[in-house]
Symmetry: C2
Subunit: 493 residues, 2 copies
């Protein structure tokens, strides 16, 4: 059974309802499949208008949606207002991207007379929408990575119908946003199958969706365990399909000595705020802070300790996430090689920030320390030098982001130790930051929100920004295409 829950109190709200039955899931997939050709044949302008209408409807319904979102997630109204604005901005951004035509990788090459290899026929590279996409909503962004979030927006922009698996953590909000989407679809004259909602807290719902033969791709934001299990199912189908899984990561942040020239205070505050932002429930939350074993490094750690201890995260998304956080922190607390720096008294209602320190050699040797603890918790890893900082990044292996504070910003190449550190960060990360904090992911064309496994199951793709559309558009070549088809300049028909 599903039921709306107050994230702050655990109190159940309103009536409970059943999760989608296997028959309902089949019907949702069938509706999406039957809508696929007609939706694929819409023009970029039509889909852009549709995305803008969704953005408009979200905004128009904000006053009704925000209190439900706040009650179900405890994320607070200011954050949720910003997130709803971001979600509408994102829908409009994909509309802009469609109108600019960037998603259609149209490349038309004239024939060259003569024998091969130099001679060739006329070849035109276009893209085609994949078909129905299963989208798994995340718990921690009830708007931006949920019903009408980035995965849905990019699949719809590509011309692919969406079957959305709602997150049970914001069950009522998901229903309400899906109803808004259905109304917009009707208003735009599109088939209802363009967007379908399925609901469930059990594993079976997601498994059925991934295994449905008509599903052509899966977009997932969530846990490593759930994501890798579903990715394997997608690969084991008779016809394997792409699985775009964003599984979170530890997001190392390296504080080079050069970063501390102006003192540790401001940077420590910025970092403490980032660790606690949204009670640490960000896939980009900085979880490993790499600090040199020198005087300025020690001063920075003490500042970070003081600033973090002064912060009080709000309630977490639900009891399961809170329990996992306490379990993770408990393991760190009991770990013989860690020195605990910040550890508030246990509290029933809200989590306490946690910070511990470990020597780089111990961190590198213990794989368990390299795993994410989802919430306001971080490890300070103390290193001897830049080479050891690189080794820490390599031990982590795959991460959504790495942040390097103190890399020289000018035109002169830095020394080889720094260069090697930057090279390592590039090799293990989806995004490398040279200032600021990794929380906050701009929605733009140059964004890349993904990263080597285990951060993502599809490291070549991004789930944020306009390149996300490419996940649902398959390139192909036309040879000696007719005029009527070339006139479409790569748009599907």
């Amino acid at each position: 059974m599903l039921q709306s829950t107050d994230a702050r109190t655990g109190a159940l709200q309103g009536a409970a309802w059943h999760e989608s039955t296997p028959e309902q899931i089949d019907a949702a997939v069938a509706a999406a499949a039957s809508a696929a050709d007609a939706f694929a044949a819409t023009s970029n302008a039509q889909r852009a208008a549709f995305l803008r209408a969704l953005a408009q409807a979200l905004g128009d319904n904000a006053a009704a949606l925000l209190p439900i979102a706040d009650r179900e997630t405890a994320l607070g109204l200011p954050r949720l207002e910003g997130e709803l604005a971001r979600t509408a901005f994102q829908l409009r951004g994909f509309a802009d991207a469609l109108e600019q035509g960037g998603a259609q990788a149209f490349l038309d090459e004239a024939a060259i007379a003569g024998a091969p290899p130099a001679g060739r026929p006329r070849l035109t590279r276009i893209v085609a929408p994949l078909g129905p996409v299963a989208v798994f909503a995340a718990s921690n962004f009830p708007f931006a990575f949920s019903v009408l979030g980035g995965d849905s927006a990019s699949a719809l922009a590509a011309g692919c119908p969406v079957v959305l698996k709602a997150h049970p953590g914001h069950a009522q909000l998901s229903r309400d946003v899906a109803a808004i989407a259905a109304a917009v679809i009707a208003q735009c004259g599109l088939p209802a199958g363009v967007f379908q909602l399925v609901e469930g807290a059990s594993v079976a719902v997601g498994v059925q969706l991934v295994q449905s033969p008509a599903i052509a791709a899966v977009a997932f934001t969530g846990s490593f365990k759930g994501g890798t299990a579903l990715a394997r199912l997608a690969a084991e189908r008779a016809r394997p399909i792409p699985f775009y899984g964003e599984l979170g990561s530890v997001n190392p942040l390296v504080v080079l000595p050069a970063a501390l020239g102006n003192g540790p205070q401001a940077l420590a505050q910025t970092l403490a705020d980032s660790i606690c932002l949204g009670a640490g429930q960000f896939c980009t939350s900085p979880g490993v802070i790499v600090v040199f074993k020198d005087g300025p490094g020690e001063a920075f750690v003490q500042q970070l300790r003081a600033r973090l201890a002064a912060l009080s995260p709000h309630a977490m998304l639900n009891a399961g996430i809170r329990a996992a956080f306490e379990r993770g922190v408990g393991q760190w607390r009991a770990h013989g090689k860690l020195q605990v720096l910040v550890d508030g008294p246990p509290s029933q209602a809200t989590p306490q920030p946690f910070l511990a320190q470990v020597d780089a050699a111990d961190f590198i040797a213990d794989h368990a320390l390299q795993e994410e603890v989802f919430g306001a918790a971080a490890l300070v890893v103390r290193v001897d030098d830049g080479a050891q900082a690189s080794a820490v990044l390599n031990a982590i292996g795959g991460t959504l982001t790495s942040t390097l504070w103190g890399v020289p910003t000018g035109e002169t190449l830095p020394d080889e130790a720094v260069l090697a550190l930057v090279r390592t960060a590039v090799q293990v990360s989806g995004r490398v930051l040279f200032s600021g904090v990794p929380t906050g992911v701009a929605v733009t064309a140059a964004q890349h929100h993904g990263g080597p496994f285990p951060a993502s199951t599809a490291p070549f793709t991004t789930s944020v920004g306009y390149a996300a559309i490419e996940r649902f558009l398959r390139p192909l070549a036309l040879q000696d295409a007719p005029q009527w088809l070339l006139a479409k300049e790569g748009a599907f028909f």
Copy 2:
């Protein structure tokens, strides 16, 4: 044991040698891994010069290589001369692509002041080479899809070292080409690990390569069975890696009535020649010919029958491939629903072309008929109308190519039946041809040689043409990147 074999006689040539031991494979992978950073740091100009030197060396050694290739594959000198020229052209083409910078998807977006979602930091999208790539050579293109073929060329262009698994069917040629590559690498001052050869006829060699932790991606051209087995191993690694498998396909060709206005003769000859080209040993060989049940269609089938019966394919690549061909044809010959049209007397030395006819309904109902028989064999599938032709393409499901003869070429949209057929062809194919035959794959930027599963395990990617480089370059975002890094404009460092 490995030994060079005369493909026409089965006679063994020269001395036999051992396949690579597990220790040798480990050493090859380790050498590639140790060369990865230095090779990634080469400039586009340096890698372009390297690729041109490889092309030059292939040409310089043509007189020595071609007789060995002909003896080991029976493909004939004219074809092999063309293939060597194509392979050199391809290496030079990747060099051109590098110098034009297209492979580096550099996208630099200025910061926008203000709060998110509109406000954002400076973001720069670049690409990074993946690291060592395992390449599995194909049997049927001893130059173009082998040691220095498209997979090697595109991986090297991307800045990734290659560990090449030689095809045992042209074992001596592979050694000789690898020795040429090693000499060029030394001459260019690159680390020897940039290109490593491993050899073996047993499954274990390939399995070890795919499971080697330092291997970052696999490129494979070969059978469905071998490809899907290795793809699964790649997905099941602790750190899954991309598996770019090109597995061949049946390549349907639809003869619309409008194509036959000028009579069937020329088209039938063109098609018969394509079916027999290289003894049918092309992954793009047309295996299913869709013809309407009308008078012109019947005349076309009779012409095709006559033209094909007059052709004599040359010897096949090896005894195993010949046996598989005879087994496949034998199953068709014994199939109760097929009417055999062309079936030469069994011959010891060379295969005979085979053609049979089947009703579309029977073809669609029997999955076994939709599978590729590798060699000079094809099925004529007779359809009532365009809708049934679409149903035949949908039953095939995923194919490297579909060819549609008789689609109107002008600016006027065709009728809905033809439109639906084109739409289906786009959905199931990596390349859709509107004239000519699918054998022959131009090496160019707009090419796409791949296609929905089971034609390819990675349908978004191409193994021919300059977009093939993208398989080995992972995008990522830099946030507030320093000037010295931005100055590289997306090239790695």
